[in-house]
Amino acid sequence: MEKPLLEIKHLCARVEDKEIIKDLSLTINAGEVHAIMGPNGAGKSSLSYVLSGKDGYEVTSGSVTFKGKDLLNMPAEERAREGLFLSMQLPTEIPGVVISNFLKQSLNSILKHRGKEELDTISFMKLLRLEANKLNISQEMLKRFVNVGFSGGEKKRFETLQMALLKPDFCILDEIDSGLDIDALKTVSDGVNSLRNTNNSFLVITHYQRLLDHIQPDVVHIFADGHIIKTGDKTLATQLEQNGYADFIKEE
């Protein structure tokens, strides 16, 4: 039986005076991978911020239910603890905050929320090294400040490492393919694919069908002007790659 993990109903949201999400409805079941494709400025990243609870993104109407709970009432940290993860398009650099400290604090706050035992430094570092190895992240990199001076590939591998550690139920991957060369794209996609199971879901935001060859979606949505204008299977992405968005937007 399909159980909805995330249900968005008639969602409208704005930033300052600008309407960015307009009557969006979308249901994602556990175990599914949905892709969202759309032209620049369509509001794809805004959707990811609205869902993850960033300040300044104001929901004006509609509802979002996550694992049966009202997501919109939770502050950002609670959404994360409940199992929502946003892999950011441009991960923020935080000078002065060392990766290992950050990840330990992050993981322990999530474990605590779920009523699990927090990890001490030794067992945390063991786990961190293990997961980092799988993603070709060196021990040296773990001593660095969060995202500071990282290449595009390093940033995305670091986002993937966080997913592997925090084990979220629902991941939004906002252009996880941007800034990646072919090898890095494969490392990151393999990392993401290894995390897929029947209980978690992914929302993959991308411009390019290429990523969807690596992370195969169950459903593809075309997103324009703040809402979904067409939904189909993965052949929709191929169609889009050949003809561009213009046809679909006109169709609407």
Binding site: E77, R79, Q105
Partner: protein, 423 residues
């Protein structure tokens, strides 16, 4: 002679914080004369008021009206106050509630440590006392001189290099409302090199004044790393004067972490006296709610090819005040010198007060100088990144606060002290 002095004593003015008491070694005329000289300086110049430029932004009225006592009983600490103080290879000089805790130090060759009364009595290092600054310009140093009794003299012989830091620990754990005055001399002979680590703290929320002077003399090619961690009670007052004379090719580096005290002032006055003398001052401070933190520096470039660099980072909590005054003076002969100064503040709340006053006085051509100041709030993108990973807003803000100071702390060459400075 004694008669005259006591006659004078009767005519003395009433001054806040000055009590008529007999101190250890008062019977020794030369010591008594030093104390009287200091008293006359304070009577003449009075305590600083807001009209005095150097104290314009730092209101010391709460200190003056506090009516703090001076505990004259016992000029040394003989209590079992440090029972949890384990024997270690480190040299730890302790002042318990302002009184030197007498213990035997395991001193390496070339290092001499004497208590201030020994210096006052024997006279060997007395020439260095009140010799590095003008007592008329430093009222709290004059107050310190009136009570001249507590302190330590660290003398390092030629070419002696000691890598383990010498710790000077001031612990103010009594509930008595006391004033504490400590006067240290640090003298490094040619080519000597040491590290000094001062720690001032209290385990209570008690009221006291700790007023320290460090007179530091760096002879040619010597090198001093001076660490200081100030974590005094939030009801206390911490006033410190560091006066440093630096000769050719000698270098001084100060790393100061400040987070306690209701009013604190760390004043550093440096004379770069000879060619290639250098001074670096790195400060990380948190101005807490309802507290005032004052960082004042005066760097005099008196000779050619001298170098100074000052970098301070601040956290300003709600309803806090901070004063950053940095003066770089470059004398006419001091060509090819470099002097830099930078202050970066992070506001946690709009309701904080920062007075930032850089001053450059340049009387020479061919010099490189810079100064800058910036202030900002917690970065919203960084805050979102951390909270979106499950870290509470409060913890995330704390992470970003320590990250702000981490840039200064990461400059500390001694890794153990670096760790102690990290929050």
């Amino acid at each position: 002679m004694v008669m005259q002095i006591s006659l004078k004593k009767n005519k003395m003015q009433e001054l806040p914080l000055v009590k008529d008491i007999n101190l250890y070694l008062d019977e020794k005329p030369s010591v008594y004369a030093l104390r009287q000289k200091a008293r006359q300086a304070l009577e003449k110049n009075k305590y600083p008021i807001k009209k005095i430029e150097a104290w314009k932004y730092t209101n010391i009225q709460p200190i003056l009206s506090s009516n703090l006592k001076f505990e004259k009983e016992g000029h040394i600490c003989t209590n079992e106050c440090c029972h949890n103080h384990e024997k270690s290879s480190k040299i730890e000089i302790r002042f318990c509630n302002g009184k030197l805790h007498i213990e035997e130090y395991n001193l390496p060759k070339g290092l001499i440590i004497k208590s201030l009364p020994e210096v006052l009595y024997e006279g060997e290092y007395k020439q260095y006392l009140f010799n590095s600054f003008d007592i008329d310009k430093h009222p709290f140093a004059a107050l310190n001189g009136i009570y001249l009794e507590q302190g330590i003299c660290i003398y390092v012989e030629k070419n002696t290099k000691i890598t383990d830091p010498i710790e000077i620990i001031y612990s103010q754990n009594k509930s008595n409302e006391n004033q504490i005055h400590i006067h240290n001399l640090i003298i490094l002979e040619k080519g000597a090199s040491i590290e000094i680590y001062e720690k001032s703290s209290s385990n209570k929320v008690n009221t006291y004044l700790i007023n320290t002077i460090n007179e530091i003399y760096l002879k040619p090619d010597s090198c001093l790393h001076h660490y200081k961690k100030q974590n005094d009670s939030n009801n206390s007052y911490h006033i410190a004067l560091n006066s440093i004379k630096i000769q050719s090719n000698a270098s001084y580096k100060q790393y100061y972490l400040s987070k306690g005290a209701q009013i604190s002032r760390q004043e550093t006055a440096i004379d770069l006296q000879q060619s290639k003398a250098s001074a670096e001052i790195y400060t990380a401070y948190t101005a807490q709610k309802n507290c005032l933190t004052d960082i004042t520096t005066n760097i005099n470039h008196l000779s050619e090819n001298t170098y100074s660099n000052q970098y301070a980072k601040a956290i300003l909590e709600a309803q806090s005040s901070a004063v950053f005054q940095g003066k770089i003076h470059i004398a006419p002969d001091a060509i090819k010198t470099e002097g830099h100064q930078l202050h970066k503040a992070l506001y946690l709340n709009e309701n904080a007060d920062l007075n930032c006053k850089p001053e450059l006085e340049i009387f020479a051509d061919d010099v490189k100088c810079s100064h800058g100041a910036s202030c900002g709030e917690i970065d919203k993108e960084q805050l979102f990144y951390l909270t979106s990973r499950g870290i509470s807003k409060k913890d995330a803000i704390n992470l970003l606060i320590s990250a702000h100071l981490q840039e200064i702390i990461s400059l500390i060459p001694n890794k153990d002290i670096q760790e102690e400075f990290s929050y």
